[in-house]
C-alpha cells in the first residue's frame, strides 16, 4: 500500500509537470505556434494524466481528461481547427483539469458545475454537429469495445460507471458512428483501413515490437500486412541498430480510427503512422515489399535477422493473423519501386533525433542544501587557512602562498557552481500566472492578455519560493486597478484587450521582476485625496508625481472604490512592500497617465548569502544587512541632541533620527558610551522609519553565508540569523527592524538568568 502511495506521489509530481507542459503548449498555440509537435505535446500531456489517473482509479479525473483528450485528438488529426477561440476554451479546460488533479490529490474541490459545463463545451467543440442535440452525441469510443492495450486498465472499468455518474457527462459508451461517416466517404471502401507503419529505431530501443503491434491490429479484424524493405541498404552500409522497414497493413474492421490509433499508443512518436480509410492508393506499388517468409528480400535480410528485431517481426506477424496473410501477392516488383525510395528514406533517417536526449536528475533538495553548507564551510576554512599562513609571514611568491591562491580560486568556483545547482528558472512561478490572469480577468469583467518574458532567468531556490506572493499580488492589482474595462478601453481608442507584461531579468547582481500594464495609469489626484482623507499625509504637502505614486505603498491605503473580490482582500500594497523588504528587496512603481503603470521589484539572487557591514559592538562582532543601511557616519558632538532622560537624537540634514545603542539594546552592556566615540549607521526599517544605530567600530563590508539560528535553537529578538566569519566564529546578523522596535519598548529588557521549566 505504501508503495502504491509512493507511486501516487510520483504521479502527482509528474502531473504538475504535465499540467505545466499542457499550459505551455496551449499558450504556444495561442501565439500561433500550432504545428504538429506542439499539438502532439499537448495531447500527450493530457493523455498521460488520464493514463496515470486510470491506474489509480481516479474516476472524475479520468472522465474529464478523457473528454479533453478526445477533443485534443480531433485537433491533432485536424478534424477540428485550432482556432484562437478553441485555444481559449482549451486553456480553461486545462484549469479545470488542474482542479481535478488537485482534488484527486485531496487539495481542494472541483466545482462540479464548472467541470460538467466545461466537459459539455469540450464535447460540443469535438463534434460541432452533435452540439445542438447533446443526446446524439459525443464521439467517444468505448475503450472496452476494443481489446486494446490501454495505459490505464482501470479505465475500462471506469467507463462502465459512466452512465450514472454524477457529473452529468452523458457519455454513453456507444460504438462509434463509423457507419454514418463511412457512408459519406462512399461506401466503396467499406470498412477497410490502410495503416502504414514506419518504425523509428527508437521503437526498438524502447523494447517495443512491431510483431505485437500487428498482432493487436489483427484483433480488430483480418489484416493483410506487407513489408516494404526497399529502404534496406546493402549490408556494408547497414546500421544494425537502425530501423529500415515499413509495413503497410490492410485492415478490415468495424472499429473506428481511434481504436486503431490506440493500438499504437505505446509507440506514439516512435514510428511514423498513417491511417487512411480505404485501400492503399497504389496497392500494387506498395507490394514492392513483401511478406516475411517469402520476402525475396535482398541478401542481407537473413543476416540482419540475427542482429535486429525488425525482420523477426515479419515472421511473427502471420501467427496471430492466420487468415488473410497469404493473400499478399508475392511479386518480385521490388526493383523498380525500390529505386526512388532509398533517397527519401535516407533523408528521414537523418532527421530522426536519436536516443535519450536531455536527461534531468531529480535530487532531494536536502542533499543540495547539505552540499551548500559544506561548501560554505570550505570557504570559511579556506579563509582561516589563508589567515594563518599570512600570520607566519610566508612570502606571497612562495609555492605555499601560490597554492593557497589557487585553492581560493577553486573554492570560489565550487561555491558558484553549487549555488548554480540550486538556482532555478523563475518559470516555475511564472507558469502559475496565466491561470491567475484568466481568473482575475473573468472575475473583473476585463480582457487581459499576459505576456511573459525572461522565464528562464535563474534565481536561488530560497528566493523563488517567496516570489509567488508578491507577483500574484502585483498582477491582481494590475488587472483590477490598472486595466480599464473593455468599454473604457475602446472609448480611449485602445485595444479592448489589455496587455499585462510580466518580465524577469538580472540587473547588477539582483533579479528584477516587472509587472507592466497598459491601463489608465495611477490617478494621482485621487491617490492624493485618499491619502489626505485617510490622514496619511497632510493636505498642504507638495508631492512630486513619483512621491504620489509611491503613496499606494503606505499602510492603510487602498484605492479600490469598492472592495472587490480580487484585490480588496484587506491586503494592500504595503504588505507586498513589507514582504519584499523582508527579503532584502525593493519595490517601486512608475506610472504614466493613460499609458499604464510598471511595478518593479528587485530582490537579491539568493537568500543564502547576504551583503553585510561587519561592526564591533561591546566586544561582539555583528553583521548589519547592507540593504538596510542608508549611510554611515561619525557623529559630531553638535549633531547629538539629548531628548528626555536617557534618549538622544541625531541631527541629519534637518531631520532628527533617534539614536539607538545596539550594545545596550541587545543587552551587551548596561550603559552606552557617548555616541561621538563610535560610528553611526543610519538605517531604514521596513516601514520606512529611520534610526541611527551606534556601534563601536566598523570592520568593513563582506558577503556572508546566512545560517539559521532556529534550526538548533529558536528565534532571538533583535537577531535575524547568524553567520560564520573568517576566524571560524559565529557572528550574529542584526535584525534592524527588531532592534528599532526593541528600543521603543523602554526600558530595555534586563537580561537575567531566567529558568524556564518545560512544565
Amino acid at each position: 500500500m505504501d508503495e502504491l502511495e509512493a507511486i501516487k506521489v510520483t504521479f502527482f509530481q509528474e502531473c504538475e509537470e504535465l499540467l505545466a507542459d499542457l499550459e505551455g503548449g496551449l499558450l504556444a498555440m495561442q501565439d500561433g505556434n500550432d504545428d504538429g509537435d506542439t499539438v502532439n505535446a499537448v495531447f500527450r500531456a493530457v493523455h498521460s494524466i488520464k493514463g496515470g489517473a486510470g491506474a489509480f482509479g481516479l474516476e472524475p479525473l479520468v472522465r474529464f481528461a478523457h473528454v479533453f483528450e478526445t477533443l485534443l485528438d480531433a485537433v491533432r488529426s485536424n478534424e477540428v481547427p485550432a482556432t484562437p477561440d478553441l485555444v481559449v476554451t482549451l486553456l480553461r479546460a486545462s484549469d479545470v483539469l488542474a482542479d481535478h488533479v488537485s482534488s484527486a490529490r485531496g487539495l481542494g474541490d472541483v466545482d462540479e458545475a464548472v467541470s460538467a459545463s466545461m466537459a459539455a463545451e469540450l464535447k460540443a467543440c469535438t463534434d460541432p454537429n452533435a452540439a445542438p442535440a447533446p443526446a446524439a452525441a459525443p464521439v467517444v469510443v468505448e475503450a472496452a469495445a476494443a481489446p486494446v492495450i490501454e495505459a490505464a486498465p482501470a479505465l475500462i472499468g471506469a467507463d462502465d460507471a459512466l452512465d450514472d455518474d454524477d457529473l452529468g457527462f452523458d457519455f454513453q459508451p456507444m460504438t462509434i458512428t463509423i457507419d454514418e461517416q463511412a457512408a459519406d466517404v462512399a461506401a466503396a471502401a467499406g470498412n477497410v483501413w490502410t495503416v502504414s507503419i514506419r518504425p523509428k529505431s527508437d521503437l526498438y530501443r524502447k523494447a517495443n515490437e512491431t510483431a505485437l503491434l500487428l498482432r493487436e491490429l489483427a484483433r480488430l479484424g483480418p489484416i493483410q500486412a506487407t513489408l516494404d524493405a526497399s529502404a534496406l541498404p546493402p549490408l556494408e552500409f547497414l546500421d544494425a541498430e537502425a530501423a529500415y522497414a515499413t509495413w503497410t497493413v490492410r485492415l478490415e474492421t468495424d472499429e473506428d480510427e481511434n481504436a486503431i490509433r490506440e493500438v499504437f499508443e505505446f509507440v506514439d512518436g516512435d514510428c511514423d503512422l498513417e491511417i487512411t480509410r480505404g485501400e492503399a492508393v497504389a496497392p500494387d506499388a506498395a507490394l514492392a515489399a513483401l511478406l516475411a517468409g517469402d520476402a525475396p528480400a535482398p541478401a542481407p535480410a537473413p543476416v540482419v535477422e540475427a542482429f535486429e528485431p525488425a525482420p523477426v517481426v515479419v515472421e511473427a506477424a502471420p501467427e496471430p493473423a492466420p487468415a488473410p496473410v497469404a493473400a499478399a501477392p508475392v511479386v518480385a516488383a521490388s526493383a523498380p519501386v525500390a529505386a526512388p525510395t532509398p533517397a527519401a528514406a535516407a533523408k528521414t533517417q537523418q532527421i530522426e533525433v536519436p536516443g535519450p536526449g536531455q536527461s534531468v536528475i531529480r535530487v532531494d533538495p536536502e542533499r543540495i542544501d547539505r552540499l551548500i553548507d559544506l561548501v560554505g564551510e570550505l570557504v570559511i576554512n579556506q579563509a582561516m587557512l589563508a589567515q594563518r599562513v599570512g600570520e607566519y609571514g610566508i612570502a606571497p611568491s612562495s609555492n605555499l602562498a601560490m597554492g593557497l591562491d589557487e585553492l581560493e580560486q577553486l573554492t570560489r568556483e565550487i561555491q558558484d557552481s553549487v549555488m548554480a545547482i540550486r538556482a532555478q528558472p523563475v518559470k516555475s512561478v511564472f507558469q502559475r500566472m496565466p491561470r491567475l490572469v484568466r481568473e482575475v480577468a473573468s472575475m473583473t469583467g476585463k480582457q487581459a492578455r499576459l505576456v511573459m518574458d525572461g522565464e528562464n532567468t535563474e534565481v536561488d531556490k530560497t528566493v523563488i519560493e517567496r516570489l509567488a506572493d508578491p507577483i500574484t499580488h502585483m498582477l491582481r492589482n494590475a488587472i483590477d486597478h490598472g486595466l480599464e474595462s473593455p468599454e473604457e478601453r475602446k472609448a480611449a481608442g485602445k485595444n479592448p484587450e489589455g496587455v499585462v507584461r510580466l518580465a524577469a531579468l538580472h540587473r547588477s547582481g539582483r533579479i528584477v521582476i516587472e509587472v507592466q500594464d497598459d491601463g489608465k495609469g495611477i490617478n494621482r489626484e485621487r491617490v492624493h485625496s485618499i491619502a489626505v482623507k485617510k490622514g496619511l499625509i497632510s493636505p498642504e504637502l507638495q508631492l512630486t508625481d513619483e512621491e504620489i505614486d509611491n503613496l499606494i505603498f503606505l499602510p492603510g491605503f487602498s484605492t479600490a472604490d469598492k472592495i472587490s473580490d480580487v484585490s480588496g482582500r484587506g491586503v494592500g500594497m504595503d504588505v507586498v512592500k513589507r514582504s519584499v523588504q523582508a527579503l532584502g528587496g525593493r519595490i517601486s512603481i512608475t506610472s504614466r497617465p493613460g499609458q499604464g503603470s510598471t511595478f518593479s521589484l528587485s530582490l537579491p539572487l539568493t537568500l543564502a548569502v547576504l551583503d553585510g557591514m561587519v561592526v564591533d559592538v561591546a566586544g561582539e562582532t555583528l553583521v548589519v544587512p547592507l540593504a538596510a543601511i542608508v549611510e554611515s557616519l561619525r557623529p559630531k558632538p553638535e549633531e547629538v541632541r539629548p531628548l528626555g532622560p536617557v534618549g538622544a537624537v541625531l541631527a541629519v540634514r534637518d531631520s532628527f533620527v533617534p539614536l539607538i545603542d545596539v550594545g545596550l539594546t541587545l543587552g551587551y552592556r548596561d550603559s552606552s558610551p557617548p555616541p561621538t566615540e563610535g560610528v553611526v549607521l543610519l538605517v531604514e526599517g521596513e516601514d520606512g522609519s529611520r534610526a541611527a544605530l551606534v556601534a563601536d567600530a566598523i570592520h568593513g563590508q563582506r558577503q556572508v553565508v546566512i545560517k539559521s539560528l532556529e534550526q538548533n535553537y529558536q528565534q532571538v529578538d533583535g537577531v535575524a540569523a547568524a553567520t560564520i566569519l573568517g576566524d571560524g566564529r559565529v557572528a550574529l546578523i542584526l535584525d534592524v527592524d527588531a532592534v528599532i522596535s526593541l528600543r521603543r519598548r523602554e526600558p530595555p529588557r534586563p537580561v537575567e538568568p531566567t529558568l524556564i521549566a518545560a512544565e
Binding site: 560554505g376 539560528l709 538548533n712 535553537y713 533583535g718 537580561v751 512544565e759
Partner: protein, 154 residues
C-alpha cells in the same frame, strides 16, 4: 510528574559526566560528539544558561551551561571543560560540563525514580537515578532541557 520507568531487560549505554561535584548521564545514542571548550558568541535576549552559539562544522550550535540550567552557580569554563553535543528532538545542542567520566552499561531496572525534591524544575530534568558502585548518577531527560520554541519566541 516523573516519566514512566520502563523495566525491560535490555541493556543501554550511558555517558556519564561531572557537573560541579555531581554526576549526571545521558543515553549514548543521543550523543553526537564531545568537544573541547571554545569561546561562544553571546546571544542577546536569552536565558542566562545559554552560553551562546558556536560554529560546529558550519552549523550554528547553541551551548547550554548545564550547571546553570540545573540551578547551580555558573562557573567559568576551563581548558578541561568540554561540551557534549546531543540531539534533542530535531535540534542539536551542546551541553557544557566539567568533564566526561565514564561509559555505563545498565539495564532499565537499575534506574530508580527521582525522589521528591524541593525543586520541581530539577526533578523535571531528571529521568531517574542510577546507583553504581556507591555513586549516584542522575540521568538527564533531554527533551525537557531546551526551552520550548514557542514559549520564548516572543
Amino acid at each position: 510528574m516523573t516519566e514512566e520507568i520502563i523495566t525491560t531487560g535490555e541493556r543501554r549505554e550511558l555517558i556519564s559526566f561531572r557537573v560541579g561535584d555531581q554526576e549526571y548521564c545521558v543515553d549514548i545514542m543521543a550523543v553526537r560528539e564531545i568537544r573541547g571548550w571554545s569561546p561562544a558568541t553571546t546571544l542577546p535576549q536569552s536565558p542566562g544558561y545559554m552560553r551562546g552559539v558556536i560554529n560546529l562544522r558550519g552549523a550554528v550550535l547553541p551551548i547550554m551551561d548545564l550547571a546553570c540550567r540545573l540551578g547551580m552557580p555558573m562557573v567559568e569554563p576551563t581548558v578541561r571543560s568540554v561540551f557534549i553535543v546531543v540531539k534533542a528532538g530535531d535540534r542539536m545542542i551542546g551541553m557544557l560540563v566539567d568533564a566526561v567520566s565514564d561509559i555505563l552499561s545498565i539495564t532499565d531496572d537499575l534506574v530508580q525514580p527521582t525522589p521528591d525534591l524541593a525543586c520541581d524544575m530539577v526533578r523535571s530534568f531528571i529521568r531517574g537515578i542510577i546507583s553504581i558502585d556507591g555513586r549516584m548518577i542522575s540521568e538527564i531527560s533531554l527533551d525537557r532541557l531546551l526551552p520550548e520554541r514557542e514559549a520564548l519566541a516572543a
